[in-house]
Every structure is written in structure tokens, then in C-alpha cells.
Symmetry: C2
Subunit: 471 residues, 2 copies
């Protein structure tokens, strides 16, 4: 049966990519109120694509924020039910002037599709839609029951997904959740992600006088909010990259020896990465490799800092305020709320004189880990081996998909991360793109994944209570 399906995919490839360009061309920036109409347009476009694929009950479902696009095909009685999660919203394109071609005018160069949202997450979720289409249009049906739940708020922390899932728990119920929203290890090495970092984000504002002040007349006489912010932020790391917020590492475990060895075996050229990134060298917490630091160790990063004059030349003022946007990546048992509390305590303990400090907690999400021995992970392993012609390695991703924990908690089902992106595809940065050979390998892998899940009937396994999550 797979040959007919692959023939179909081959024949329709040109149309599929044209459609994908249309999708990437919609500036569905969830964080921008100005792009609300584009968000609606993207949701409706996706619903139409799902209907065209042959999915049923397709619906743009309202939430208190941006809508969720739902669709299903439930005609495989006795077989497991899988729910595909993805997101049609994208990051803002700034700095726009660093894009080689406009972020929302997608183009294909060197078999790569360029455009904001190309890899994060439009092309990756689109591979799922096209896999379903191939089974339904050319294969007579899917080997499993399939549901799609594609949201529009992932890039702003999915504020309405949890209430949505709670309200529609029965409709969304599944034996597993499949997500393709991240990168594989490298172009030559497919990987299965068995862990994600959690997140805890906040905005920290230091305020001084009501207005900017002349630095000649007031300089030396009042606290400078930019200096106070700088001093406060400087207490949060030591000079070797370790976070110095008290209690920050309390719930972080050392990596099990087997996983540490497996990570260590991955070929990884640190010098080459430095050159590619344009940095004088890699840097971070002493005693851990780059791969460890970016996947199994937590971080506290300044994502943005601003206050005072930013124009040409100099403006001799004392800024009235200065702000930092901060987000932490969390691992193991670090809890976003507890880390937020720790940071608040740290700030209280280091509060600078002569200014006021305002903390605005933002979205958070718990870390997630699944055992490489879980049966669905083994099915994915076999599917990747065939789809990519190479056995995948097991890694943990440094990124966060906070809703992974929400899904596994609310639906009591394991989340299988079927990443199809690559790490150098500039997600969240200018010139984001997606390698189109992974579009082809992706549909092949997913075809086999659904067949494997269907064939082995893991559904019963899950009923025994082993969902593969660590205690």
C-alpha cells in the first residue's frame, strides 16, 4: 500500500509546496494585535487544507484568544488514536532588515523554503496534513484514528490551550500525541527527542524619575535606572555562566550515565559551530559540554534589554526606566512557579537603592522527559530508520513546548516528538527556512510511523498504565 501512497506524494509534490508557500506567506504573528486578521486567515486557510486532505469534522474552534483548528478521521476501529499537535502562529520577524528576502514572501532557494514560520512550525505540521491526505486520497484510509489540534498561540505561551483542552477533553482524547515542532540532531543524523526544557519568563523594569533627566544637572544625584538594572542583572550569573539565583539548581539532576555517554558519542564540531555562528568561542557553565548545556542544563537568559536613548550619537540623559525581558529554560523537576518565586526572592535580596523595581511574571511551562524505552518511541525509531535510511539517536531538546506537559498531563497520554526540522534553520531569527528534503523524508517517516503504531496495537499496552513517563 505504501508504494501507492508514495506515488501520490511524488505526483502531488509541486502542488503541495505551492500550498505550503501560501501558508508561510500569511503573517500569523500571535504576539501582535495588528496581525489579528492574519491569524484568522491562517486558521481558515489551514482548515480548508485539512478538508481538502479528506479529514472530517474540520472546524475553526474559538478560544478566548486565537482559534484552534481541529479535524479528524476516526474510521480505524480497535486501532490506537493519535492526536497531532502543531501551531500555525509564528514569531515576529524583527529585525526585518536582516532578512535576505521578505519574511512573508516565501521563496525556495537550494531546495530550502525561506520565510518566517517555515520550520517553526508551518512546514512541520504541514507534513502531517499531507501524510494524512496521501493515506486518505491514495491509500483508502489511515491505519490509525487521527485527530489534529493546531493552535495559534504557541509563540506567546499557549495561554488558552489548557482551558481549551479541559473544555474539550473527550473530543481530544487519544492514545498518543504526536508533535513535529523542533530540530533533529543534524542533517545527517535523525534523532528522537525524549525531553524538552521548561520555561519561566518575566519582565523586569527598574524605574527612577518620572521623566528622563539631564545627566549634567542630575547626574550623580539620583540613581540611574539603567545602572541599577545592570547591577541587579549582574548578580544572576557568575562569570563562568552559572546561574547564581539561590535554589535555582535544587531540582536539577545529573544526567544518567547512559544518556551522558550517548550524548558524548554524538559527533559535534564546536569550532565549526563557533565559526558558523560568528562567535569567538562557545561559552557556558563549566563542566558540561555544549550539547549538555543546551539540553539537560537550565539557563537564565536576557532576551532583550532597553532603556534610555537608542538613536544616533549620544543623548546626555538619565533614563527614567530600564527593562529586561528574561526567560529561563528549565529541566528535570524544576517547576516554573518555584523558579519564579526564587527569582523574585533574589531580586528582593538585591534590590537597588533609589529606584523602584517591578516584576511582571510571564508564561511558563514545565520540563518534559520520556524514556527511550517507551513502545511508541520504539515505533518512531523504526519509522525514522526507514524514512531517513539511518537509525535515529535519542536526544533531549533545549527548546520548550510547554504544552507537551499540558497534553501529557491532561490527556494522560505520552507525547512523541517527531522532529523534522534542523538546528541551523534560523527559527526565531532572520532568514528562517526549512530543508525540503525533510518534507519528503518526513512524509515517508510518518507513513511508516502510523503503520507501525497500527500494526503493533500499542493501545492495549497503554491501558496497562505504562505511559513511559518518569516518576
Amino acid at each position: 500500500m505504501l508504494s501507492k501512497i508514495e506515488e501520490y506524494l511524488q505526483k502531488e509534490r509541486g502542488r503541495h509546496l505551492e500550498e505550503l508557500k501560501e501558508f508561510v506567506g500569511i503573517p500569523s504573528i500571535s504576539s501582535s494585535t495588528a496581525h489579528r486578521p492574519d491569524m484568522k486567515r491562517a486558521a481558515e486557510w489551514l482548515a480548508a487544507a485539512m478538508r481538502k486532505a479528506g479529514l472530517e469534522h474540520v472546524e475553526v474552534m474559538q478560544t478566548d484568544g486565537h482559534p484552534v483548528v481541529y479535524g479528524d478521521w476516526l474510521h480505524a476501529p480497535g486501532k490506537p488514536t493519535a492526536l497531532v499537535y502543531g501551531h500555525y502562529d509564528v514569531q515576529p520577524p524583527d529585525p526585518v532588515d536582516q532578512w535576505e528576502t521578505p519574511p512573508f514572501e516565501p521563496v525556495i532557494r537550494d531546495n530550502k523554503l525561506y520565510g518566517r514560520g517555515a520550520t517553526d512550525d508551518k512546514a512541520q505540521l504541514y507534513v502531517h496534513v499531507k501524510t494524512a491526505e496521501a493515506f486518505l486520497q491514495a491509500g483508502g484510509g489511515l491505519p490509525v484514528n487521527l485527530k489534529f489540534c493546531i493552535e495559534g498561540e504557541e509563540e506567546i505561551g499557549s495561554p488558552h490551550l489548557q482551558p481549551f483542552l479541559e473544555a474539550h477533553r473527550e473530543k481530544m482524547r487519544a492514545d498518543l500525541i504526536a508533535i513535529s515542532d523542533g530540530p533533529m540532531h543534524s542533517e545527517d543524523q535523525p534523532s528522537i527527542c525524549c525531553g524538552l526544557r521548561g520555561m519561566c519568563a518575566l519582565e523586569l523594569t527598574v524605574r527612577g524619575a518620572k521623566t528622563d533627566l539631564h545627566s549634567g544637572l542630575y547626574g550623580g544625584g539620583v540613581a540611574n535606572p539603567a545602572t541599577a538594572l545592570v547591577q541587579l542583572l549582574s548578580t544572576m550569573h557568575d562569570r563562568e555562566g552559572r546561574v547564581t539565583v539561590a535554589g535555582f539548581y535544587d531540582k536539577v539532576h545529573e544526567l544518567p550515565d547512559a544518556e551522558k555517554e550517548s550524548l558524548g558519542r554524538l559527533t559535534f564540531d564546536e569550532d565549526r559551530l563557533s565559526r558558523e555562528l560568528g562567535v569567538p568561542g562557545l561559552f557556558g557553565e563549566k563542566g558540561y559540554s555544549f550539547l549538555e548545556r543546551t539540553s539537560v542544563r537550565p539557563t537564565l537568559e536576557i532576551n532583550g534589554i532597553y532603556g534610555g536613548y537608542q538613536g544616533e550619537d549620544i543623548k546626555t540623559i538619565i533614563p527614567s526606566s530600564a527593562t529586561a525581558k528574561i526567560s529561563c529554560r528549565l529541566v528535570d523537576d524544576q517547576d516554573p512557579e518555584e523558579i519564579m518565586r526564587r527569582i523574585q526572592e533574589h531580586i528582593a535580596a538585591h534590590r537597588p537603592e533609589g529606584v523602584t523595581v517591578e516584576i511582571k511574571p510571564m508564561h511558563g511551562g514545565k520540563p518534559y522527559v520520556i524514556s527511550p524505552g517507551h513502545p511508541y518511541i520504539r515505533a518512531a525509531e523504526s519509522a525514522y530508520r526507514e524514512g531517513f535510511g539511518k537509525p535515529p539517536v535519542f536526544i533531549r531538546s533545549g527548546g520548550s513546548i510547554p504544552i507537551v506537559q499540558v497534553f501529557s498531563g491532561l490527556l494522560d497520554a505520552p507525547v512523541i516528538m517527531m522532529d523534522l526540522g534542523l538546528p541551523d534553520e534560523n527559527l526565531h531569527a532572520p532568514n528562517e527556512h526549512f530543508h525540503l528534503e525533510n518534507f519528503d523524508r518526513g512524509v515517508r517517516t510518518l507513513c511508516r510511523f502510523w503503520q507501525e503504531i497500527s500494526r503493533q496495537g500499542f493501545r492495549q499496552n497503554r491501558m496497562c498504565g505504562d505511559n513511559g513517563l518518569p516518576s
Copy 2:
């Protein structure tokens, strides 16, 4: 004679203020290339106003930057020649949304003129033009020889004034330089400024990767330029507001006891100032009063800081760079070039790992001090006493007019600062304004100042070599 002159000023007051509003309405922002045509317009407007006043040889003189407006009246043989310096350029109006009325649509409210550049320096220099006009139109001539040299680059550090003065040294030669470009002590207390802080400014940029990076995939693995900048800047002050750059205070002297006592006698309500500014308390170097910290002590201020994401919500990136704009206010024998070198050495000694650091030195200027016993200062004292009905106090200003040192050095003449502004007039900030009662007191004071200078014939005194400058 003064009665006829004052009658003229009274009669023409309405017209004079209307003209001043026109002048303040021109957005002559020297730091902005977009406002180049407005700079030209402001210079031409001023030249026309000088001609109308009766000044001769009025000329818009080209430089390699914005032009200088010159005019003179040289028909007082045997009398001293004074050169009036001022600037027709203004600071950028940002943040524009904090202005109650648009910055370049001047209005008068409560006898105050609101608009960018009102007090810094358009109204103050305009008082000089109107004083000359009154003498020339109603008094039959000026009691001294008078030259005007009004530049358009003060707010960007006067990069072309020194070469201009060198090229036109003979034309600009004078026995004294008069400048009104600062604030008096307070509304009830006129003052004469006998010192200015110098300046040393730079832009400090920390660079990491070529583009912003995803903080999940790279976070922990590379240095964050914002964090590196923060750590570097945090080494420049201790927690009590003292600058910790090695050698920074080497050429700073303790204030002579007499001046310290005089400063201490000035009534100054620190709590009231805190409330007015909206800060929880004043703050600065331990062991010095607010007035000392803002006039006779040096500073290092962050005027602006920026890097990474500044929009709504959060964007989970590691910024590719982060920048701080820094300026120091210098006192006594601190030399801008030496301080720049000290800062560069400090940065080299604290250079963070994993990033590159770029220092862009910007404009500087030496501090300036003149003795309260100088004969021209005594003439100014007497003029203020009559113009304001109260004896002035001697202070030092915390601000910088780098060209003061240039003038006193190049023209070998003392600079007399005849400040007519007030400290709470929001210069360099939103809602800048000028108290119009000081327009009236200002012309009265200047009328008497020129008469006093003329009457006492200080010209000869200066020829004896005593120019009142400290050694």
C-alpha cells in the same frame, strides 16, 4: 538711557515672544540627518532676526557640519569687545508621547514657553539678541563692542566649532565670552556659574553570534551579549554609586572649604526634590551632598542601553548584540582623553568571554572653572543684583559646555556664564519650557552687564594677564 531701552523692550514684548515661538517651532535637531533642512532654516531665521536687531556683518557661515550664525556691532572704540556664544540646535524630542503639547508647536502656558529647545538654548540666546536690539533701536548704540557666534552643533558635541574658531580667530577675537546656556540655582535665587563639568562619551557594543539565536537551542551554549554587557557595566560602579574604574578620581580635588561652605548654605529640600522627580529617594556617592554630587563630583552614566527584543510579551532569543551609550561628567583636572583611556583599560581588564567588545569613543570636553573674584564675574554679580533684585550666589553647574574650554583656550579670554534658565525646565526631556519672567529679568540684567563692563573698562585689566582662570 536705560529707561528708554526698557520702554522699548516693554512695548515690543508681544512681538518678541511671537518671534521666539517661531524660532522654537523649527525642529533644529542637529543629531538627525533627516532634520538637515530644518537646521538650515533655523540658521537663516536667526540671521534675519539679528539683521532686524541692527547687528552688522550678519552671515550664515559654513562649516563642515551645520553652519554658524555670526553678526557684530563694533562701534564702541576703546571699549571691551564681548562675544556672545549660544546654539540654535536642540536635542531630539523623544520620547515624543510624553509631551503634553507637541515639542515643535510652542505654546505659552502660565507665562512659560513650552517647546523643545525653549530653555536650551533658544530663549536664552534670544535674550541676548533682543538686548542688542533694544540698545541699537532705542539707545543709539551698544556700550560695548559685541559679536555673536551661534552654532548648530552643541547638542552633538560641537565637532566643527574648534576648527571654525581656529580658522576665524581674528574675526572672533574678544575680551570676554558671554554664554547663557544653563540654569540658575532656583526661581528665587539667581546664580552665577563659575564651573562646568567636562565630558567623555562612548558607545560600548558587545557582539555575539551573527544573528539572534533561539534561546532554547543555543541557550547555555553560547555567551549572551546582553548578559556580558550587563556584567561588564556592573563593574564600573560600586553599590554606593562610586565609579570603580581604576584612576577615575586621580585628578579630582576636594572642594575648597570656602566653596564647600557656600554650597552648604544654599537652601535645598532633598525630600521635595525626590517627590518632584518621583523617585523613592536621592542616591549617589557617599559622603557628598546632592549639590556636591551634581556639580563638583564626576559621574559615569548609562544614557541608553539596548539589545534584543523590545516588543510585546517575550521573544525567546539570545540577542546578537547589546549596546550601551555612556557618558562621564568630569571635574577639576580630569582630562577627557585620559578618562577614555582609563575606561578602555577597565574594559580590557574585565573583557567577558565568548563575545567581542567594541568601543566607539564619542565627543569629549574638558571641565572649566573661573574664580568668583574675577572682575567680569563681579560685573555680572552687580548686573544680576539689579536685574533680579537679589544678589546672585556662586555655583558650579553639573552640566557641560565643552566649547567653554575651547573658547577660553583659543581666544585667551574668560567665559562668563550668564545663566537665565531654571533647573526644572526639563531640558533634554519631554515638556521642556522657559519661564518668561526670566526673559524680562534677563534683558534687564544684560543691559546692566554691558553698561558695567563698558563703565569699568575691564579691557585693560585683562591686558595685565589676569584672566581669572585657575592655574
